[in-house]
Symmetry: C2
């Protein structure tokens, strides 16, 4: 098991990632910021940030063993040198979603909306990291971070558009779109 | 949704609950303490406590809609005046458990071990609250709190013995048994 991965995302004047786009798809926007940094380890409360989001990596909540094996076979690592584009998509789902039982959420997420299957189609280029934050009392339920080479940005926007058209996305009530770039290492 | 329920369990010299038993079933024991208090709201870091455990209530992770409806129909509330006995069972499961996929964990928990079904047999007398803490980096994964009238203590010990005999419990690697009483209100 090891320690859980605690992550703080800090937006402000500094950071490896330059923020190219920061807009609300649904609900209230996040304040303007120029750059973003991802801080691993104990949750930080940095001074002077434009905004700060905290989350943790956790065990999978919906993926079956078969699905996980297929995902692992095609998932690239984070931090590839060619992956100089990134996206951060904080979302909050509605009380109606959280009031569903496990089998109901699973059915909407995969059997109806093909969330896992659609995502898997794009994984050879796009690395993904899911952070949970609802249980911390944060303003969002999830922070999803994606990293990809610039040539995959069209595929990434297609992935986002397909997921937004699903029944599952009807339960999303707050969603922010952030796109970022960094200099090649 | 509302805010998540954040809970701090504080053991020391004070508190509504008197600790009658505090022993390790598996793994290292918790230090001796006389009394225990449950603090709701923002996680507290009280001074001078013998030990402190933190957790959060969250959405259900395994229960189906049908199971949940059956559980809700028979679950008593916490805080009943006659429920002057309580148990706190902090547990940590092994890395092997957390490395299982969702469908594998569900199958062991309910289809093999009947965790939800066995628990439901005892619910008319025994109120139950599950707190999660693994994602916080706490020493345990779960804190389960039970409240019952003294006449149900035999039934409660039977419930615990039946769950400990299951395949699921083979994944438990640290478990503490705490029994408590409070004065009638």
């Amino acid at each position: 098991m090891g320690s859980p991965e605690h992550v703080t995302i800090v937006a402000g004047h500094e950071g490896r990632w330059r923020i190219d786009l920061n807009r609300a798809s649904l609900g209230q926007a996040l304040p303007y910021a120029k750059r973003l940094e991802i801080v691993e380890g104990a949750w930080a409360r940095p001074e002077g940030a434009a905004w700060v989001l905290r989350g943790f990596a956790s065990n999978t909540r919906y993926t079956t063993a078969d699905e996980r094996a297929r995902l692992r076979a095609v998932s690239p690592a984070l931090g590839r040198s060619e992956a100089t584009s990134a996206a951060l998509i904080p979302i909050r789902k509605s009380p109606a979603w959280w009031d569903l039982a496990q089998d109901e959420r699973r059915r909407i997420l995969e059997e109806d909306s093909r969330h896992i299957s659609i995502g898997a189609e794009y994984l050879t280029d796009i690395a993904r990291r899911l952070l949970h934050c609802r249980d911390l009392g944060e303003p969002f339920d999830f922070l999803t971070w994606f990293e990809y080479p610039p040539h995959a940005s069209g595929a990434f926007e297609e992935l986002v558009a397909r997921l937004r058209a699903t029944r599952e996305w009807g339960y999303v009530e707050h969603e922010i779109d952030i796109r970022l770039t960094r200099d090649p290492v």
